[in-house]
Structure formats: structure tokens, C-alpha cells
Amino acid sequence: MRKRMTLLMSITLLMAMTLSACGGNGNGNEAQSPKASDNSGSVESAGSASNDNAFTIRIGTWFIDDRPYMQEFKANIEKAYKAKYPNGTIQWDITLGDTYSDKLKAELASDTAPDVFFHQGQTAKFGEVGYLADLTGEPWTEKLNPGTKSSYLYKDIVYSLPMGVASSGIWYNKKIFGDLGIQVPKSWSELEKAFSTIKASGITPVSAGFKDIWTAQMTFNLWMQPYGNESSQTYGKDLYEGKKTLEGPEVQAVMTHLQDMVDKGYLNKTALSIDWPQSAELFTSGKAAMIVQGPWMPGTAKENFETKGHTAFDLGYFPFTTDKGYAKLSIGIDQSLSINSKTKLLQQAKDLVNIIASPEVYGPFNVGGGTVPAIQGMQLNYPDPALNDLMKVVEETDAGMGYESYLPASAMTSLVETFTKVASGIKFNPKDLAEAQKKLEKDKGTVIVPAE
């Protein structure tokens, strides 16, 4: 009995000690470090890693999948890093999809985040709380496009490497446009005429896959950008400062036009129940003439032509325009790369980021994704003619950071919900926008005003 009691007590004490170590403060976490090194590597070689010592460096990402240019990106990084650190190993922490962001936040809060990680639009927030290492002074920072400042700078410190400037817009089937004698629309009224001609020929004018909320949000934001900025060049800031409201004529114009499109049958009837790959198939099969998507669309179309048996056609690109023909592109940074401020492999992490910023790695990544390098001076050759179309429009059109960077996520969600409600066939009621405005006022504190 006594032996059993001793055993019981020992187990209980052991468990209590383990639990208290889990719930401890920073010191407690450090005590756990050697065990964590099996996975992280960064701690394994804490402070002592050099070209001679073996180490593993972790990199977190959500977007590296089986696409050939993604695999090429990964291979290019590994090859260049091996040349720099023969004893260094890169451990890829890949979590595809939305969960990555939640996982990363939890890892950062618990000091278990990767040494280097990609994120989406979190530079200011992560920078403010000290999660990111200062990258000011790295060779590529001098060459960053100032137009993308808000994606890499917080309080004059460079915290991120923007991986490329994505410009989304309307992709169209050049064959359908050619067959029906439609010129590239230069204003909303011209676009409406094009919708009408296409619809009359029995083809769906626009393919939408709003089951994926991000496609609805992207469409709405691209549409809002010219309408908002036509009324004020600082539309986003005006909303934030209360000089404009989300119940104003700018948002109402977009919602009314959408309702008009729905009423006239210019969107596919399945718009609310199919996701983005299904909408892309509808477009590449030739059943729909246009699709609102990002620069990855030509690559996806090529893949669909090869694998789905769709007849290949040339893609063209044009931006959203207002009734008066004003266009303003929304510049978006899909991926930013930062270093964990708590990494024990700071130099190795900086070298990894520098390798990723090198033309040999950064260039092909931008070409593959159809994005414009945020590092200036890189001359890239885009093999897909559709991407050259896009680049030409980007060069010729006014562009700026999206107005939405001044809005809290809750107000954005509310706007997109009104947008999908109208897309589902419910008549637009301007009163529905009051909720978005209320959320903007309530959650303004969650917004970090973008660097100008």
C-alpha cells in the first residue's frame, strides 16, 4: 500500500510540475526550449549557429502548394541557402488556407512561431507588438517601391519584404469579345453595353464564385476603388476620419450597379453557390465571357485548358471604371515576409530573407504569380501575353493602396454581406449600409492607419 501511495504521489507531483511549466512565464518557456528544438531547430543552435554548425531554420507559409512555380520557388530557396549554409536545413511549416493566420497568431503569442514567416497585411500590427525583427538596412530595403510602404513599414522601420504587387481586375475572353465586335470598355456604360451584347448571344457575361467570400470581397473592393477615389483621392482616409461615410453615394453606386446586373441576368445563376475554381471553369469553358480575378487567372486558365479539355483562348485584362470612365487600380500585397523577433538565428534568418529577395528567387516567383516586383529595378519577362496585357494596364492606370486598408474587418464584412445579399437577388436597401458604418465607428480602434 505504501509503495502504491509513493507511486501515486510521484505521478501527481510530476504532472503538477509539467503543468506548471506549461503555464509559466517567459522563463518557463525557455526552460522548455531544448525539447522544442527537435522541431524548431532555431533553438537547438541558439546563438552558436554558423557555417560550420548544423542548424534547422523554420519558415512558415500558407501558399506553397503543388503549382509548378511554387515548387520552383521552394527549390530555388533551398538551393541558394544550401550554397550559403551547407549545414543549414530549411524546415517548411506549410498550413494551406485560412487557418494559417490563426495558427501563426497563436504561435507568436506563445513564442513558438517559425524563425521566418509569411503573413498577409499584418506588418503594422505585428510590428507594434514587437513580433517582428527590424530589417532596415538590408540590401533590398532601399529599392522597395514607396507605393507599397504600408505593407513593409511601421514607424519608419522596415519589418517586411513585400513579395510582389498584385493587381486584380476583369479578365475577358478575347475570342468572345472579337466575335461579338466588342471593344475593351472604357466606362461603366460601355461595360453595360458589352454585358447586354454578350447576354443576347446566349453567353453569361460575368462568372462569379461568391461561395468563396474572398472573391465577393475582392470584386466589391476593386469596384469601390474607382468610385471612392473619384469622389476623393483620399477616400479611405476620409472614411476613417469620418469625412465620408459608408452610407454615401460611392457605396450606393456600386450596390445599385450590382443589383442592375443581377436583375438583367448578367451574372451566372450559380454565383452564390459555386466557389472560385468552379467560377474559373465556367469562364475557361467559354460559357462566361468575363471573370473578376487576380493575376493568377492566366495561369489557372492555362491549367484548365490543359486538364479540363476546354478550348484555349486568349485572355485580356481591363480595370473597373466609373460611369465617367475613371479607373483606379487597387494595389495589393498578397504575401509579406518577416523575421520573428524572438529567433535565435537572426543572421541566418536575415540571410534567408535576402536570398528570397534576390532576383534569382524573387523574379521567377513574381513571373509565376503574375505580380509586379515590389523591389524596383527588376526587369522581368512575362511569357504569358495576358500578363503583358495586365502589366500594360498597370503602367498606364492610376493605382494606390486599397481604400479598405483604413477599414476595420467588421465594417468590411458587413459591406460584403450587403454585396452578397444583393447578388442573391434581394433588392438593395440603402439602410443596410448603416450597420457597416456603425461597425466602422465602433471598431475604428482596431485599425492601424497605413503608412503614407
Binding site: Q122, Y131, A423, I426
Partner: protein, 292 residues
């Protein structure tokens, strides 16, 4: 140490690990979340105390109010439609007939299959060019066809129908177990006394089935009030906010809108509401339970 003390200590050491785990992973986060419900917190930057603002905004938030209405509607439908239907089903499946075993399995199957899987299957059936509209087209009712989940008018009734279908088998199995625990002698005695089938049901079956009714009503209320997975997988709450339930609205407030403080406040209100409703329900139904 005498035997009694030794036993006490043994018992104590047995419950300590579970108690520590419970405190660490249930009570501590719960108490912490009460604090966060009074703050503006995005889970990244430090929480900022804002008093009762999160709670007062709940009353002005049309999305939350709409989600609360939807949630109540699902719960009421569960109680008013699914409950009596599952009791009827159980009574039928309690009789002896040739396909009884097959039908019992068939009705219970939706419970066994993952909700996410059934949601995806139903999603493809209910699409505009899905099986249901194809069937309507074949029987000459093409004009009835619509995008069942993409239409603000039809999406929520569709989700209600799916939740009823999904929960029917589970409630029926509980009722079936209750029915099978009623001694046959009671029915025989009632028959000898000249009681009709209707009287036997209301005066023998129903009172003795009260423990099962208590459980089913409890599970229906709780299940309805915290319904999440079906709307999450099938519609994400849309189109617009027409198919939001409270738990989905809370989830989105936290993980999509990064307003964690607000989401926690809504979660606490929902928890209190569930506690009150279920306590009242248990009081009412337990009072009517009869022991054999």
C-alpha cells in the same frame, strides 16, 4: 496514518490531476474570458478596457439580432416539429415488421455520418444545377428550381429542414430506448381495463417516457442554440447575413473580424441564456417524470 486518513489521501491524489487540468483548461480561460469581454481586443495588440460597450452593442448589432432570431427559430422548429416526429418514428419503429432493422439503420445513419460530409453532399444536391433542381425539371416543375442555398429567401428554411432531418434519427433512438424500457405488463393490464390505444399512449406510454422526453428536449434546445457546423460549411452565414446562427456570428466576430472582446461578450450572453433556458426546461420536464 489510520485507514480512513489513508483512504482520504488516496482519493485526494486521484482527483488532483483531473482538477488541475480542469482548472488550467476550463476555469482559468473562462475567468480570463470574462475579463476580455469588457475589452477591445484583436488577439494581437494588448486589450483595451471599454466597460460594457461590447454588451450594449449586442443590442444594436442587427447581424447578431438576426442570428439570435434564426437560432431561436431553429430551436423552436426542433421542439415543435422534430420532437413529435421523432416520437412518432420511434413508436412506428418499435412495432415488429420485416424491414424494421433496415429502417432503424436508415434513420440513424445521418447521425453517424460526419456533419461536414453531409453538409457537402447536401450542398451539391441543392446547387442551382444540382440533383434537386434536376429532379424538379424532370417532373415538370422546372420553375420551382432555384439556388436553394444562394437565395436569401430559401437558404434558412433549407437549413432548418436539414437540421431536422439530421437530428430526427438521434431523438428517435432515445425515444425507442425509452419505449423498450416500458414493461409490457402495463399495456396488458391497461388493455384488460378496456383502455383504447389512444388512452394507452397518453396514460401509459407518455408518462413513462418522460425521462426520455427530458433528455430529447434538453438536447434539442442545446443543439439548436449552439448550431454551428451546418451553416458554417454550407453557406458561411450568407447570402448576406441571412443564414447566420449565434455561434456562427460569434465565430466570425472573433476569427474573421478580429473583434475577440465582442465575440467573447456575445458568447457569455449565449451561455447564460442556454443555462437559464435549460434550467427552466429541466424543472418543467423532470416534475412530470414518473417512476415505475
Amino acid at each position: 496514518m489510520n485507514n480512513r486518513t489513508r483512504e482520504w489521501w488516496t482519493g485526494f491524489f486521484f482527483i488532483v490531476p483531473a482538477t488541475i487540468l480542469f482548472i488550467a483548461f476550463v476555469y482559468y480561460p473562462f475567468i480570463q474570458s470574462i475579463f476580455y469581454s469588457f475589452t477591445e481586443w484583436d488577439s494581437i495588440r494588448p486589450a483595451k478596457y471599454i466597460g460594457l460597450d461590447n454588451y450594449t452593442f449586442l443590442l444594436e448589432d442587427s447581424k447578431m439580432i438576426n442570428a439570435a432570431k434564426n437560432t431561436l427559430l431553429i430551436t423552436i422548429f426542433g421542439l415543435a416539429i422534430q420532437n413529435p416526429l421523432s416520437l412518432l418514428l420511434a413508436v412506428l419503429l418499435n412495432r415488429s415488421f420485416r424491414t424494421r432493422a433496415f429502417l432503424r439503420t436508415a434513420f440513424y445513419l445521418p447521425v453517424v455520418v460526419s456533419l461536414v460530409v453531409t453538409s457537402i453532399v447536401w450542398g451539391s444536391i441543392l446547387q442551382y444545377d444540382g440533383l434537386l433542381n434536376g429532379l424538379l425539371d424532370k417532373i415538370g416543375l422546372a420553375e420551382w428550381g432555384r439556388d436553394w442555398l444562394g437565395n436569401s429567401h430559401t437558404v434558412f428554411p433549407t437549413i432548418i429542414a436539414l437540421t431536422q432531418w439530421q437530428g430526427l434519427g438521434y431523438s428517435a433512438v432515445i425515444y425507442l430506448a425509452g419505449l423498450q424500457s416500458i414493461p409490457q405488463e402495463l399495456y396488458e393490464a391497461a388493455k384488460i381495463d378496456g383502455a383504447s390505444a389512444r388512452r394507452r399512449f397518453f396514460h401509459v406510454t407518455l408518462p413513462l417516457l418522460m425521462p426520455a422526453i427530458t433528455i430529447v428536449v434538453f438536447l434539442t434546445i442545446v443543439g439548436g442554440l449552439k448550431l454551428f457546423d451546418i451553416p458554417y460549411v454550407m453557406t458561411g452565414g450568407g447570402p448576406g447575413s441571412s443564414s447566420y446562427t449565434l455561434t456562427l456570428a460569434i465565430y466570425n466576430a472573433a476569427f474573421r473580424e478580429n473583434t475577440y472582446g465582442y465575440a467573447i461578450a456575445a458568447g457569455i450572453v449565449l451561455m447564460i441564456f442556454i443555462m437559464i433556458v435549460t434550467l427552466i426546461q429541466l424543472r418543467i420536464t423532470r416534475r412530470r417524470e414518473v417512476e415505475i
